[in-house]
Amino acid sequence: MSEAGELTVTLLRFGFLILLWALVLGTVGALRRDLVVGRRNKVGTPTAREIRKHPELVEEPAPVRAAARRLVVTEGPLTGTTLDLAASPILLGRAQEATLVLEDDYASGRHARLFPQGSRWFIEDLGSTNGTYLAGAQLTRALPVEPGIPIRIGKTVIELRP
């Protein structure tokens, strides 16, 4: 191979490596907005310019609510029992593995569960025999629970407290 040809090949070789990295860096550049876990993307708050272009992004501030911190049994055999709410879901029922073991003949083994989502707690019936009642209405699907609203399971009534 002639000297000029060799030079061309060497240049092409390095050119290819540069091209390869141009692709990688170009990709990363295209993702810059997505990769930056800055204040904007982390909180999800759009900037003023984005709001001007997409007015639908503006979210009304959520009403201030006291977050529920405790679960209190107000009626039934376990009256007075309290449970501190953490971030994990709570299983209610007669089964030994339940978080709150109900000594209640009208409760099923795995009766209902309370789970946090966003800033609220939801209750969901797990196919119990006698049903779960939120504020007097039988649950057919998961519903949010506000502090102070009674949940009835068999003879037991529980409430969330702030």
Partner: protein, 471 residues
């Protein structure tokens, strides 16, 4: 499982720009590989460039119409990886002994088939959630696919019975099975997640699952062990079990599952080492790779991996240049050892760029999982991107002697049609999931879906407009 809010923007033009750059990379690799060995712009060059270019532009056009908000970088990255793989396979064909069949034209054909299949998937399934209906069907399909090589259709190559003969060529059903298994695990775990999560005994800081909830895990373990025993394929069995472990960990975020899984792997590895000579030989040729008697041993020697290491050393930092090294000295340089071949000719700089492409690809898959709102899509995207990550880890780790070498394919690069097809289908699924993740929510106000909440003594409590729906 949190949601991240971003401004909806289609970004298809960025995808087009990156795609053109990726095609330039693919064509450049092919041109450089052939330079000095054949006429610069021969028939093969054009067949490869046109196939890859037209098919990927076709996918791009489909995305413009069907999945406007899909992730813009997945397609260019995959096209670049596929193109570099094609160029390297062609380059190895050129230096192979004359008379042996060339692999590259067949691989170009498979590329066209695979991208075509991905296009069909994108057109047929507008929404990945349809796949959830096929949860148990895909379990049956996976079982059939995994059993196929054991039937008379099966074919044994190099001791592993994972191929079947279909008409003209061979096919690895296990590659497709990893997709159907991921669909099954995602469907099963997104339905039964709460059950697995809530029930169970607490021992110390760990909550252990109930025994009957362990059943699917035990099934996954048995599948992996079955693949290992009857098909003698260590790579696939690691892949299937790793897939299940990751998906159950993502679904429940319980460390106890990972511990149980690691214990099961430990038991499996111990039994395999005791019972199967080929696993023990693999292990020995990893630990004592440079011992002369291990290097020369006829079955299960370390010749392949050591030659790969010599190749990598020869490449050094900037590589010998495409077409200038001797990667053809390594056995299976165009399939299992393609990273060693690339490392020799592109050097550390080139291999790190390729690894970066895989990393970005996997991270985009995980990003789609974070962004999408349904549990099934989250699990599926995590599982599928993890299979790509695990394959890369097992292959590159094996070649660089970090872990024992096992026969898995490098996604999108290795010669082999079934792997290419399966990985392009995975890309189509990831694109669909990323589309649901990035698509702006409908702006029509949601109807109030909660009944009126009653207070303690029957009086209605102050009502607020409900903004979030339960899911």
């Amino acid at each position: 499982m949190s949601d991240v809010l971003t401004v909806p923007r289609s970004r298809r033009n960025i995808e087009l720009a990156l795609l053109v750059l990726a095609l330039v990379v693919a064509g450049g690799a092919n041109h450089l590989a052939g330079i000095g060995r054949e006429e610069p712009f021969g028939d093969y060059f054009w067949s490869q460039v046109l196939t890859l270019g037209l098919m990927s532009l076709f996918i791009h056009v489909i995305l413009r119409f069907r999945a406007k908000y899909a992730d813009p970088v997945i397609l260019p990255l995959v096209v670049a990886l596929n193109g570099i793989g094609l160029a390297m396979i062609h380059r190895l064909d050129l230096s192979a002994v004359s008379g042996s069949t060339s692999v590259a034209p067949q691989q170009v054909l498979w590329t066209a088939v695979a991208i075509g299949a991905a296009a069909v998937l994108l057109i047929l399934f507008r929404d990945h959630r349809i796949l959830r209906r096929f949860t148990y069907i895909s379990l049956i399909v996976s079982a059939i696919l995994l059993l196929l090589p054991l039937t008379p259709l099966g074919l044994e190559i190099n001791g592993a019975r994972i191929w079947i003969t279909v008409g003209v060529g061979t096919f690895q059903p296990g590659e497709i099975a990893k997709i159907t298994l991921a669909i099954f695990f995602a469907g099963y775990l997104s339905t039964n997640r709460d059950l697995i999560l809530l029930a169970g005994k607490k021992i110390g800081p760990l909550q252990f699952p109930r025994f009957r909830d362990l059943a699917p895990m035990a099934a996954a373990w048995l599948v992996s062990i079955g693949v290992l025993i009857f098909q003698r394929d260590l790579g696939s069995s690691i892949l299937f079990f790793g897939l299940f472990m990751v998906m159950i960990y993502v679904a429940t975020s319980r460390v106890s599952w990972v511990l149980i899984g690691l214990a099961m792997i430990g038991a499996g590895v111990f039994v395999a080492l005791e019972l199967f000579s080929h696993v023990a030989l693999r292990f020995d040729s990893w630990i004592n790779a440079f011992a002369p008697e291990v290097y020369d041993r006829a079955p299960g020697g370390s010749r392949q991996v050591v030659q790969g290491l010599f190749g990598l050393a020869n490449g050094g930092l900037i590589g010998t240049g495409l077409g200038e090294g001797r990667p053809d000295l390594v056995t299976y340089a165009n399939s299992d050892m393609i990273i060693a071949a690339l490392g020799e000719e592109l050097g550390l700089i080139g291999v790190v760029a390729i690894v970066m492409m895989y990393v970005i690809l996997v991270s985009r898959g995980i990003r789609a999982a974070v962004g999408t709102k349904d549990g099934f899509g989250k699990l599926l995207a995590c599982g599928l991107s993890f299979t790509i990550a695990l394959q890369c880890f097992v292959v590159i780790g094996g070649i660089t002697r970090l872990i024992p070498l096992t026969g898995l394919t490098t996604p999108f690069m290795s010669a082999g049609g079934s792997s290419l097809l399966a990985n392009w289908l995975i890309v189509a699924l990831l694109l669909l999931i990323s589309e649901t993740a990035r698509r702006p929510a409908p702006t029509v106000p949601m109807k109030d879906s909660f009944p009126e909440v009653l207070g303690v003594n029957g009086k209605p409590v102050k009502k607020r407009p409900a903004k979030e729906a339960t899911r």
